[in-house]
């Protein structure tokens, strides 16, 4: 299998799924995170438990949901509940193993901005805001972020911290009072897989996407980005994995474009 046989987006999704283990309780919205977790469920984590912000527990998701209120994310759940049940009773309660996040900016401490570009009180661009993202980042044991790698998305400091990464250093979360004080935070982009180094509280390169150099990544990043000593290359998906992804996880190609 050559790199032509899968898209970068597919690789990102498969790589993300590798951070989800069997029996994990996973809080997920829609979009690529849902594709990645659905892939994990069908590939190697059959007992994974979805928890949807709107309250559904362990649904058997069908089709390609376009919202957390979509009946597709509630299908055959073991329980329907409320937002408080999911975000309070599962997430803040400390039972979420993995949460997926998105955002407009991610800084060196893996803090995330999904609120505003420019000044908060007179914004240049206003985004939708936290939603459940702040809660996910505050309470999950592992936080996964899938995003495109552009320099403006990786500034030294977010214009506005919507969701906490390591705040301002290795002990930043504990000092801020966050119950999940030292979570694993992994950022998967089209160039690289980064994770927070517990010793510094900062992101560093863990693995490069095939064919990408450390230089390339650094040129596209707005902060100093160290590399782990053993930084290797992201393993490409197997043929079977690509087939599973295309034929069973996103058969309509709603989220993942097939390679041209």
């Amino acid at each position: 299998m050559t790199t032509d046989d899968y898209t970068l987006e597919e690789l990102m999704v498969v790589e993300a799924s590798r951070h989800v283990s069997d029996w994990d309780t996973v809080m997920v919205g829609t979009g690529l995170p849902m594709v990645a977790s659905l892939f994990a469920l069908k590939n190697h984590a059959p007992n994974m438990c979805y928890v949807v912000e709107t309250g559904g527990i362990a649904p058997q998701i069908v089709g390609t949901p376009s919202s957390v209120t979509d009946a597709r994310v509630m299908h055959r759940a073991v329980r329907h509940g409320s937002l408080l049940d999911a975000l309070g009773g599962v997430l803040q309660r400390g039972l979420a193993d993995v949460a997926f996040l998105g955002g407009a900016q991610i800084d060196r401490f893996a803090n995330v901005n999904s609120t505003v570009i420019g000044d908060y009180d007179s914004p240049k661009v206003r985004f939708p805001g936290s939603g459940g993202a702040n809660d996910l980042a505050s309470h999950a044991k592992k936080i996964l972020i899938i995003t495109r790698h552009e320099k403006r998305r990786f500034p030294e400091r977010c214009d506005f911290i919507t969701s906490p990464g390591y705040v301002d250093g290795p002990d930043g979360r504990r000092k801020a009072g966050l119950p999940s004080a030292y979570p694993e935070i992994v950022v998967i982009t089209d160039l690289v897989v980064m994770a927070v180094d517990r010793a510094t509280g900062c992101l560093r390169i863990e693995r490069l996407m095939p064919g990408v150099t450390v230089e390339q990544v650094r040129n596209s990043t707005g902060f100093d980005l160290p590399a782990a000593a053993a930084a290797g290359t992201v393993e490409p998906p197997t043929e079977a994995e690509v087939r599973l992804l295309r034929e069973e996880v996103d058969p309509g190609g709603e989220y993942l474009k097939a390679p041209e």
Binding site: V68, T69, S82, L83, G129, G131, N134, V167, L178
Partner: protein, 307 residues
């Protein structure tokens, strides 16, 4: 308050006129593209009730309509968007233009504020928001809505306190209600169980009026008992173009059409308001204009396949 009535069924026009007032804080039911109280929202727009503070977790198309119609002074929420259908554009533009006050929260933080209101408590602790600008920039900006105290049993551990949110009136769309005001919400319930209980008045629109006999036969299924409800509006398709779980799917075509108008603003948006709301005497008339029978059957069928 109309809680001492054994028949709370009334028209949307009457309910909104009686329970939604200029300057009110309005709790917004539904989320994203699901079960938003569209019929009740249209009626507020039609009656031009303004200076509103809109509160909820995710505020979506119903909020965006009220902002776009110039009826909102302020929002307090976790997000303003329609998920895959995009940002709430009238809201976004109003914030960027500085014509709308906003206070930002996370979804759990807003749900916690409603929980405090529902339990008669002045505030609720939270472990969200810590270490963020949601907390710090808003506090520096003068917001009085956040306090950080030390956990009295673990002195080095900061805990956020959030004041109760108690809407003057909440508007909610549900699958079923009886004439006393008992409400059955099926599927996801967002922040509604807490928000409704925290509210001074509550208007519920429903797909179907059921008998109190049926309510009493299945008391485990009642989401909100009648003692919290002031008005019941029977309005099939009352969340259109957002979905009602078990009844019909969202109408992606209409949502996209709205988003195009909301994104452009100006005359495109004004004509949406005019054609869809102001020129329509009621929500049934809006539905007749916006969606034909064949499409309704399609959206119902599409939901049925997901059950």
């Amino acid at each position: 308050m109309n809680r001492k009535s054994s028949n709370k069924v009334m028209s949307a026009a009457e309910a909104v006129e009686r329970f939604v007032h200029d300057g009110a804080t309005v709790g917004m039911g539904g989320q994203s593209i699901g079960r938003c109280a569209m019929a009740l929202t249209h009626e507020i727009v039609r009656q031009g009730i303004g200076d509103l503070t809109l509160v909820g977790c995710n505020l979506s198309m119903s909020m965006d309509l009220l902002v776009g119609a110039g009826l909102a002074r302020r929002t307090e929420c976790g997000t303003g968007n329609l998920e895959r259908f995009g940002t709430a554009f009238r809201w976004r533009r109003a914030i960027e233009a500085g014509t709308l006050e906003v206070e930002d929260y996370s979804h759990l933080a807003m749900a916690s504020r409603f929980l405090a209101g529902a339990l008669g408590l002045p505030f609720m602790p939270s472990k969200s928001l810590l270490g963020t600008d949601i907390l710090h920039k808003q506090m520096e900006g003068g917001s009085d809505s956040f306090r950080v105290i030390d956990n009295p049993w673990n002195p080095d551990e900061p805990v956020v306190l959030l004041p109760a949110c108690r809407p003057d009136v909440s508007i909610v769309h549900a699958q079923k209600a009886d004439e006393l005001g008992n409400v059955v919400i099926e599927g996801f319930t967002t922040q509604e169980p807490e928000m409704v209980r925290a509210s001074s008045s509550v208007i519920v629109s429903c797909e179907e009026l059921i008998s109190s006999e049926e309510i009493r036969r299945y008391p485990d299924r009642t989401t909100v008992p009648y003692i919290f409800v002031d008005a019941v509006v029977v309005q099939p398709w009352g969340s259109y173009p957002t979905s009602t779980y078990g009844c019909y799917e969202h109408d992606a075509e209409h949502l996209r059409r709205y988003q195009v108008c909301a994104r452009s603003g100006g005359e495109a948006y004004e004509s949406y308001l005019r054609e869809m709301i102001h020129e329509r005497p009621d929500f049934d008339s809006h539905l007749d204009g916006a969606i034909g029978e064949p499409r309704r059957r399609e959206l119902e069928e599409s939901m049925r396949r997901l059950m």
